[in-house]
Amino acid sequence: MSRALYPLASLEQVEKSPSREDGLPPDLEEDLRAYGCKLIHHAGILLKQKQVAVATAQILFHRFWFVTSLKQFGIGDIGMGALYLASKLEECPLRMRDLINVYDLLLRRASHSNSTGDFKYTPMSYFGNTFYDLKDALVVAEMQILKRLGFDVHVVLPYGTLINYMRLLDLTGREDAVSRAWGYLNDALQTPVYVLYPVPTIVSAAILLATRHLQIPLPSTPPNCWWELFDAEWEDVWAVCGYIMRLYRERSKEDQARVAGMLTKKDVRRWLEEHGHKEGKH
């Protein structure tokens, strides 16, 4: 098969995430990356962008943090750059100014969430510095994503595979199962699984979660395990399920506030300075 395979993180890249090397705790990195993906998702909805572009952006976003530390770039800037780039890749380019306006709103609303009072958004002035600063950040972010990913921005989305697998399992009649699995695939975009596992494994995990939740029986006793049809390993499928289910756990107010206050690299650096010696003890 001559079709080029999409890149996945190597073992070394998984074990040594650049942010962790800089002293950022893994759970905080996980939260920040998930929040960055939520911002991309929000921006996509406000811009009426296609889901293929949003999903591609989220996957590129996750790839980026396997080669770059959150100390060097903020999740706001890189998310914006990823969405801009992905929209070109999916042949539905965005206007820079629209994207910048939407991100400005989202970032300001996020930082407001830590203070009291109603949120009021005042649009930036047309030729103001805010616009030009964000525009520079956007151009740099897009270029940095390309450069650090070696210009290999080939992304394969899971939706077509899900449809095929559901057909194969004779589940297309169960609309609830299909839409639930589809939803798990979309939620999984907030986790790094699309850079850790091949698409068949992720799709199998989404089907596993959906069918278990709806108590739809599928052949699951060795030697007849349905996921083997799709060349997925049980441990991998189970690990992907774990990543997805972790998204739904209850979060404390403090955890939420901590993330909303760390959208730029400056915030991350400040946090590292304040918590640096504590983390160093581990």
Binding site: K88, P93, H154
Partner: protein, 431 residues
């Protein structure tokens, strides 16, 4: 899978990630894979990630099934085959040799890889005046080249960066010639056997691109590179883009394809077009190889339309049912109908019937009826005598791009040479 719990060790799980680790683990667990290695040395690397226990250690009941059945479908390759995330290297990994050409998109240099010594072509992208970030055309080109790897598509090696964010270079294999220069410089046109080889290579590349949902949109002889081993490579994917099914839902531009090679549906303003436009260009290239000059050397779009109508006769309701629905069709008055197909026959008087049939199927008005690359490769033209020449038997030429010069212009008449050649061959064939 049944025994996976007992046999699954941490090292095994890791072995799915990395070849090197995999090899190291094998030495730690020498008993595990020995017999398998010996029996299937070629596939052992790929098969080790699977948690299926090796037949020798466990489950004597069904050893043959595990050994015979391939462990992975080609659509779900094992984890280790996926490339890792690789940041772009620096342009200083290459040593600049000479400039090859400068186009509107950027400059092309010949360069040497400092590590391997390979000669490559470095295409510098023009990014200085970009108002919309990284140009979408450059993205399309890089993605199309990466997605369409093929024997007859120029090989993209990597993309490297300079000191600033505005310096980006696409690294490709260096190919000695382009077909355009070659055709104009060579003394006699290509032989039929050579044309067949070139056309088969071109069609194979085009069919490969179409299979991967890529339209080239600028096929012409100057974008076909040729090495000294008789192989052509489709290059310059600067106008290429992905297409979908249904076609053109997101609106396609008509500002594509160099005029002489542009299909009639684009000329007449169609906003939905597809793979057929590349085939029209292939037809023009086929004609150019036969004629040793471009088929439609028009100066304007109107002149091109009238040249096409003159050669092929005006479109009719049967040859192109959708003609009247095209935006610009109303503004054109059709010339009177001629006798059918005579234009092509007159222009290509020495071409066999099969060859003429293939050409007319490529230069068919109706995009729906136009032959596909896949079908064209099966055309009888390629199976009749003379058969396609093996690429190794092609002559070599001095490369203008590498700065080589032709030794002596060919000015002597060619007939006596041919005669001499002929004698030589018959002499050689004598016992």
């Amino acid at each position: 899978m049944s025994d996976s719990f007992e046999s699954s060790t941490p090292s095994r799980k890791r072995s799915r990630w990395d070849h090197e680790v995999d090899e190291g683990d094998d030495q730690l667990l020498p008993t595990r894979q020995v017999s398998k290695r010996r029996s299937k040395p070629k596939t052992s690397k790929l098969s080790e990630y699977s948690n299926t226990p090796s037949p020798s250690t466990k489950s004597p009941v069904k050893p043959s099934i595990a050994a015979v059945r391939p462990r992975h479908s080609i659509y779900a390759p094992p984890r280790t085959l996926y490339p890792s995330l690789q940041p772009a290297r620096s342009v200083y990994s290459y040593e600049r040799l000479n400039q090859i050409e400068e186009g509107s998109y950027g400059v092309v240099f010949r360069a040497r890889d400092k590590q391997t010594g390979d000669i490559v072509a470095l295409k510098k992208l023009k990014l200085d005046e970009e108002k919309h970030g990284f140009p979408i055309t450059a993205l399309r080109e890089i993605n199309a080249l990466m997605a369409c790897r093929h024997e007859n598509v120029v090989n993209i090696r990597e993309v490297v960066v300079g000191d600033t964010l505005t310096q980006v270079f696409v690294v490709m294999d260096f190919i000695e010639h382009d077909l355009k220069t070659l055709i104009t410089l060579m003394p006699a046109p290509f032989l039929q056997s050579e044309i067949k080889t070139l056309m088969l290579q071109l069609l194979s590349a085009v069919s490969h691109c179409h299979y991967h949902w890529i339209l080239h949109r600028d096929l012409k002889t100057s974008n076909l590179l040729m090495n000294n081993r008789g192989t052509i490579k489709v290059a310059d994917f600067g106008l290429a883009r992905r297409y979908g099914d249904p076609i053109g839902v997101d609106g396609l531009t008509q500002l594509v394809v160099t005029l002489w090679y542009r299909a009639p549906e684009i000329l007449l303003g169609a906003t939905t077009y597809s793979t057929a436009i590349d085939i029209w260009s292939v037809g023009c290239i086929f004609a150019e190889l036969l004629l040793k000059e471009p088929l439609f050397q028009a100066k304007s779009e109107m002149e091109l339309i009238s040249m096409i109508f003159k050669l092929l006769g005006p479109p009719t309701s049967s040859s192109w049912p959708d003609y009247t629905t095209l935006p610009l069709a109303k503004s054109i008055t059709l010339p009177p109908q001629q006798s059918h197909g005579s234009g092509l026959r007159q222009r290509f008087s020495y071409l066999t019937n099969a060859g003429l049939n293939l050409l007319s199927k490529m230069l068919t008005y109706d995009p729906e009826q136009r032959i596909t690359a896949e079908e064209a490769m099966q055309h009888p033209y390629f199976k009749e005598s003379p058969l396609p020449k093996h690429p190794d038997l092609f002559g070599s030429f001095p490369s203008a791009a590498a700065g080589e010069k032709r030794r002596k212009p060919f000015d002597s008449p060619s007939a006596p040479q041919r005669l001499a050649d002929y004698n030589l061959i018959t002499d050689f064939d004598l016992p």
